[in-house]
Amino acid sequence: MPDGKSTVSKPPVPKSPAALGKTTKDSEDINRRSFFSWLSFGWIGFVAATGGFFTMMLRFFFPNVLFEPVQTFLAGYPDDYIIGEVDTKWKDKYGVWIIRNDQGIYALSTVCTHLGCTPNWLASAKKFKCPCHGSGFKSTGINFEGPAPRPLERYRIVLADDGQIIVDKTKKFQQEKGQWEDPEALLKV
């Protein structure tokens, strides 16, 4: 009976030895049918509570506050950077190379696009070389040797009001998606 109302039509109460000793009022309160409907409520409640707890467990692994280095930093003035040179002073702290060429200044990610190691800038060979698996990148970030499948990524680079360079690592520009044409991927000075 889906509505579970035992008063509408009473199913015959089985005459078990235990039931014989009981008063009729008891068997009206909980009979076999309503017991099963209450049981299904109980199971639904149990499954819901268990599912809720596992959802909580899953969410627990995604913290709201991260104690990680800041993703945006001031990188000095454009005049601090020499045309045609790769500046490695932000590599250890922020994971960024700042390079100035004839067109402007851009911020390259130090994460190798193969498997995420950190390449080194070899000034004599004029290339970035990854120590893990030998990927090589030109100073523009274009991959030219080794297993790296795509160029290094560039970060958003803009000027602050006081003329300092802001590097914002939360926004990435990928060459293979044509994003290097974005005005914020290259700071024209």
Partner: protein, 264 residues
């Protein structure tokens, strides 16, 4: 004469209430049935078969690789617990604590034992799998236990992987950097995996670098202290707990599926 006396002492002990409360079955096992009952009634012994056919334990057939894997697991558990008394899973102390363990702590070989034991266990588990494959021991009715064994192999590799980060040296950091980057490519749940962009409403993408499978694994967007702590907990508590459950099932099923290396 003295032998007789000892025997009676043992029998005397076996009749005491303490003995009988611990070992069910009544006294020293004298016949096959009593020996079988004493094995069946022990929580430790009952995982093991009551009796083994002589041909089943031939070394040239089994290579003893399953038994060796379990033996090495016990060594790793004991030496690992000992290491936990000195090792602190923080960026500040992790590396120096490993140096301290190797150079200053008495019997610092405990750390080498753990490291080499870990290598050895990966090798013996692979060889065990190879042996089971070559002797056809994966065939019905043992196919379920083969599946359990594959899970055990995976858990062994995950234990090896999580333990690798804990020394927090350059080798460890970069190995885990590379390894955890693979999680980016998880279908649907990795930020760079296939189908990740399907889980989005308009411009809001739910699977990003800050919410994908890799993030859950290393507890952040970059390899750092959260990753070290997560791997430490997984290595010392989470994965050993899971692998012990599967090992119990594995050993029990060896017996239930017709015994060790016996044609069925």
């Amino acid at each position: 004469m003295s032998e007789e006396k000892q025997k009676s002492l043992l029998e005397k002990a076996a009749e005491s209430q303490i003995w009988k409360s611990i070992f069910r079955g009544g006294g020293v096992p004298r016949n096959r049935r009593q020996r079988m009952m004493s094995v069946l009634n022990s929580v430790f012994l009952h995982l093991h078969p009551v009796r083994l056919p002589k041909h089943a334990v031939k070394l040239k057939f089994t290579w003893c690789m399953g038994g060796l894997s379990f033996f090495i697991f016990l060594i790793l558990t004991i030496s690992g617990i000992l290491l936990m008394f000195y090792y602190r899973p923080t960026i500040e102390y992790a590396y120096t604590d490993i140096i301290d363990l190797a150079e200053q702590v008495p019997f610092g070989i405990m750390r080498e034992l753990h490291r080499w034991g870990a290598h050895a266990m990966v090798i013996t588990v692979w060889l065990h799998m190879f042996r089971v494959f070559m002797t056809g021991s994966y065939k019905p009715p043992r196919e379920f236990n083969w599946a359990v064994g594959v899970i055990l192999l995976l858990l062994t590799l995950l234990l090896s992987f999580t333990g690798y980060l804990l020394p927090w040296d350059q080798l460890a950091i970069w190995a885990i950097t590379v390894g955890s980057n693979m999680a980016r490519a998880t279908p649907f749940l990795g930020s760079e995996g296939p189908g990740a962009s399907l889980l989005a409403i308009g411009d809001i993408n739910f699977i990003t670098m800050g919410s994908d499978a890799r993030f859950a694994l290393i507890g952040g967007r970059f390899m750092g202290e959260a990753a070290l702590l997560r791997f430490y907990v997984l290595h010392c508590i989470g994965l050993p707990f899971i692998i012990m459950i599967f090992m119990a099932v594995h050993f029990w099923r060896v017996r239930k599926d017709g015994g060790i290396s016996t044609p069925v």
